[in-house]
């Protein structure tokens, strides 16, 4: 059943194109909507069990020989994410029905969206590292497809490519970490790895494992400096941004860190990297968000910053911090999801997302403005009792102040954390209220392509539900705390105490932090004109996007240079590569293994006529090299061939001799036929250097061939298989001529393919002679 649930989106993705072709009157989204709603209902049934600590485990053996099982596992963490994916998924699909008109390629859109949904469910529910990895990459691919949905736009495709490059790079690094973990613990099951967590932490490879796995998590969750793909991913349709790039996919990295917390947490390295990069991302993201002018770009940087905050809390690793982290995942999904939808509505109804042009929309779209108010102020952490963002922000401050049984490094570093927390939050406050006030109040600053008006109710429905959740969560946080958050903290932390979330913490440092954010944030917002120029100095021209572009361009240029360096188009160069490689490989192997031996005991007697022929052949072979005249060269080549057929006679190979004789005759005739049409040999000599290189290579090849021939004759590692043919030629093949029987019977397939080769050569020759461009057939 659980497998069927994860499979359902994929199945639906398979049938959606058929429905799309068949039913034209109804918007395709209505059919798609059934899938996440069904799944959401299904996952809801697990809540009761999970609250009581009952975990569900279903296994299906996929590749038993490699120990890869598709095991799905539902505990607090997985269930929460599954509910998030399907819940937000339902709202997003509903929203998209009104956002995307029927003129768009809806079939593509919903197939990608369903693929993503299934993949994401697979990520958060699978218990096997490699299955998780497979689904993980599948989310990257579907994200790529969705960002590039409007593939006619150049920005969409480049944004899609960028997200793909960065997340897949991280995914591969993560796979490396997974392989090491599976190797050390001997199991690919996440539960098994958590049980054997000490083996990993104590392994000398631990730093590598941690960094590799975190690379995967950080690229996916857009942590500094890999965050640069997320703003570019905003080229995707807004429902996609709300779903993938704020609520779910970017949280896959958070999920991974949370899931493996039981293994890694408690080590100083984990603490330093995760909380350090988290805080850095928090500050950088919110700092950069203030200077953006596109609504969705503000939200993108805001998402980066919020993800950094959650990541930092996971890095803190205290129970309070983990509770705050999981609480904020929930809150962020609600207010950020609604804000993305609001941004989409504004774009849809006014034709622009540029806040320099917008303003005074409150009068035209009061409902949207109200929704935006709840979203932005919740995001700012404004101290109002009906905003869930404030609750988790307060808990974040609190957790940055308290570190239990800290090691020396933690003690040394942690006093700085509250300052980062407050700094990041001040900018969060600034861009949040800027987003609201500049869009909805004041005067309209630019001309809009559309007369703004309120959005249709269907479009408002989804953000309304989310905003309702914002308020409900703020009023009864404990209900969510008991049902969802406690089991989740249990899964991340290994144990859970009392989770009581309250609005009023009393007069304490956390409150003062909130108040200073409020005061400083307001001051900075009001005085924003005065300090905006700081962005010119910092970051100025530095940015991760530039670094990425430089890296990619450098790689492309470098590889082109390298390829052009050896792919010269010269046949001689290519042949030289082949021969030099042959010389190096055979020469080194022979000298390393001592394979060259001469055994004089088992030789055929030397006969004078054979030696004479050999001398003539050698002479003739080298004569072809020095001949200035083409006919002479061809005739001398003929001497080599005829000499060979004579040798075949001496070596008791009558069939060979006959064949060689005929073939040689025909070949010489062909040569003579063709040379008439070809120009004379070049009189010009090659440069001395070229000639020397040619000789060195050809002599080395010749010497090596001789050495291999002698060595192979002198060493007998096993009995030849020829006796079999001699014994069975008559019995099985019914022929006395063993060579012929081998050709037509024992190795008949060889001969058949040989005939095929000849046929192809004949066909090629015929084509080359008969068909000419620009000439009609039969004119020859």
């Amino acid at each position: 059943m659980l497998h069927a649930a994860v499979l359902l989106p994929f199945l639906a993705a398979f049938f959606i194109p058929l429905i799309y072709r068949g039913v034209k009157q109804v918007h395709l989204g209505w059919f798609v909507l059934l899938v996440p709603i069904l799944l959401f209902g299904y996952f809801l049934t697990f809540i009761k069990g999970v609250m009581q600590g009952v975990h569900t485990l279903k296994t299906f053996e996929w590749i038993p020989s490699l120990g890869v099982n598709v095991t799905f596992y539902i505990d607090g963490l997985g269930l929460f994410f599954a509910l998030l994916i399907t819940g937000i998924g339902s709202l997003v699909v509903l929203y998209s029905i009104y956002y995307l008109s029927k003129a768009e390629k809806l079939g593509h859109f919903y197939v990608y969206l369903l693929l993503f949904m299934g993949a994401m469910l697979g990520v958060v529910l699978s218990d096997n590292l490699f299955v998780l990895y497979t689904f993980w990459e599948l989310t990257s691919i579907s994200s790529f497809l969705l960002i590039g949905y409007w593939y006619q736009r150049e920005k969409s495709t480049s944004g899609a490519l960028k997200s793909m490059m960065i997340t897949v790079f991280g995914g591969l690094a993560m796979l490396g970490g997974f392989l090491l973990m599976a190797d050390i613990t001997g199991t690919a099951s996440i539960r098994g790895i958590i049980e054997n967590g000490e083996m990993i932490v104590n392994s000398p490879l631990f730093p590598f494992i941690l960094i590799l796995v975190l690379l995967g998590a950080f690229t996916k969750s857009a942590q500094f400096p890999f965050h640069t793909w997320l703003p570019d991913a905003m080229e995707a349709p807004t429902p996609v941004s709300a779903f993938l790039h704020s609520a779910t996919m970017v949280k896959a990295g958070i999920y991974l860190v949370a899931r493996l917390s039981l293994v890694f947490a408690g080590t100083d390295l984990f603490f330093l990297i995760v909380s350090g990069f988290g805080l850095l991302t928090l500050c950088w993201g919110s700092y950069m968000a203030v200077t953006q002018t596109d609504l969705k770009a503000i939200l993108a940087y805001s998402t980066i910053s919020q993800l950094g905050m959650i990541m930092a809390m996971l890095g803190f690793g205290t129970e309070l911090a983990i509770l705050a982290a999981v609480f904020h995942i929930l809150n962020h999904a609600t207010f950020k999801g609604s804000l993305f939808m609001v941004a989409g509505i504004i774009d849809h109804e006014t034709g622009t997302r540029d806040i320099r042009k917008l303003g005074g929309l409150f009068t035209f779209m009061p409902i949207t403005a109200l929704l935006a108010f709840f979203g932005t102020f919740s995001m700012a952490g404004f101290p109002l009792p009906f905003l869930n963002g404030f609750l988790s922000k307060e808990m974040f401050f609190d957790s940055s102040l308290h570190f239990e049984d800290a090691s020396t490094i933690v003690e040394a570093v942690s006093p700085f954390f509250p300052y980062f927390a407050v700094g990041g939050s001040i900018f969060t406050f600034v861009y949040s209220i800027m987003l609201f006030f500049r869009t909805f109040t004041g005067k309209q600053r630019g001309t809009l392509s559309k007369q703004p008006h309120e959005a249709p109710i269907g479009m408002l429905l989804s953000p309304m539900i989310l905003v309702l959740l914002v308020v409900i969560i703020a009023f009864i946080p404990d209900a969510f705390g008991h049902a969802l958050l406690s089991p989740m903290v249990d899964a991340v932390n290994g144990s859970v105490g009392e989770t009581h979330i309250k609005f009023w913490h009393g007069f304490g440092p956390a409150l003062y932090m909130s108040l200073s954010v409020l005061i400083l944030g307001t001051a900075l917002y009001l005085a924003r004109e005065k300090w905006q120029h700081i962005y010119k100095a910092f970051p100025g021209k530095l940015s991760a996007a530039k670094a990425y572009d430089g890296l990619i361009n450098g790689l492309l240029r470098g590889s082109r240079k390298l390829t052009n360096g050896y792919m010269t188009g010269s046949l001689r160069h290519y042949m030289i590569y082949i021969f030099v490689f042959f010389i190096a490989l055979v020469g080194i192997t022979m000298s390393v293994t001592g394979g060259f031996q001469i055994n004089y005991n088992d030789l055929a007697p030397i006969a004078v006529p054979e030696v004479m022929i050999a001398i003539v052949m050698a002479g003739a072979a080298f004569a072809t090299v020095f001949m200035k005249n083409r006919i002479a060269a061809i005739l001398v080549l003929g001497i080599v061939g005829y000499g060979l057929s004579l040798l075949f006679v001496f070596f008791r190979a009558p069939d060979l001799a006959l064949t060689q004789l005929i073939v040689e005759t025909v070949t010489v005739a062909l040569f003579l036929l063709c040379f008439y049409h070809l120009p004379n040999f070049d009189k010009k000599k090659e440069s001395k250097r070229t000639n020397a290189v040619n000789w060195v290579i050809s002599i080395s090849v010749g010497v090596l061939v001789t050495m291999v021939g002698i060595a192979s004759h002198s060493t007998k590692l096993f009995e030849p298989i020829s006796d079999y043919f001699l014994k069975n030629s008559y019995k099985l093949g019914g022929g006395d001529n063993v060579v012929n029987v081998i050709l037509v019977d024992f190795r008949g397939l060889d001969t058949m393919l040989e005939i095929l080769v000849l046929g192809l050569a004949a066909l090629g020759i015929y084509t080359m002679i008969k068909l000419r461009p620009g000439k009609k057939e039969g004119n020859d």
Binding site: I606, F651, Q660, G702
Partner: protein
């Protein structure tokens, strides 16, 4: 005898490789022909020379030369004949179309 034949095969290879490294198509084709002669000689030498009667079964004979290399070479002779004639016609057509038989001048363009 095997040693002498190995040396001869090596010499045929030397001449063949040298010709293949030239620029004119006709020389390259001669090179491939020399190379296949060398290879045939090499294979038959590996199967030991002159150790019995030709591999045609007859009454009272128990000692035959190794038939397997011969079968392999027979296949190879025919195929190298096919290849040589194909190359010859290719050279003829190349020269007719492009007006040169110099491989260095027949290099592709940058963006092919």
């Amino acid at each position: 005898m095997e040693i002498i034949m190995s040396i001869l095969a090596g010499m045929l290879f030397t001449a063949g490789v040298y010709m293949i490294l030239q620029k004119q198509i006709l020389k390259i084709i001669i090179g491939t022909a020399l190379l296949s002669h060398g290879a045939h000689l090499f294979i038959i030498t590996m199967g030991k020379l002159n150790r019995g009667k030709p591999p045609i079964l007859s009454e009272g004979v128990t000692n035959y030369v190794d038939p397997l290399p011969q079968a392999l070479i027979l296949t190879s002779i025919v195929i190298s004949f096919g290849v040589t004639s194909f190359l010859l016609v290719l050279a003829y057509r190349t020269y007719q179309t492009n007006g040169t038989d110099n491989m260095e001048k027949l290099r592709g363009n940058e963006n092919e």
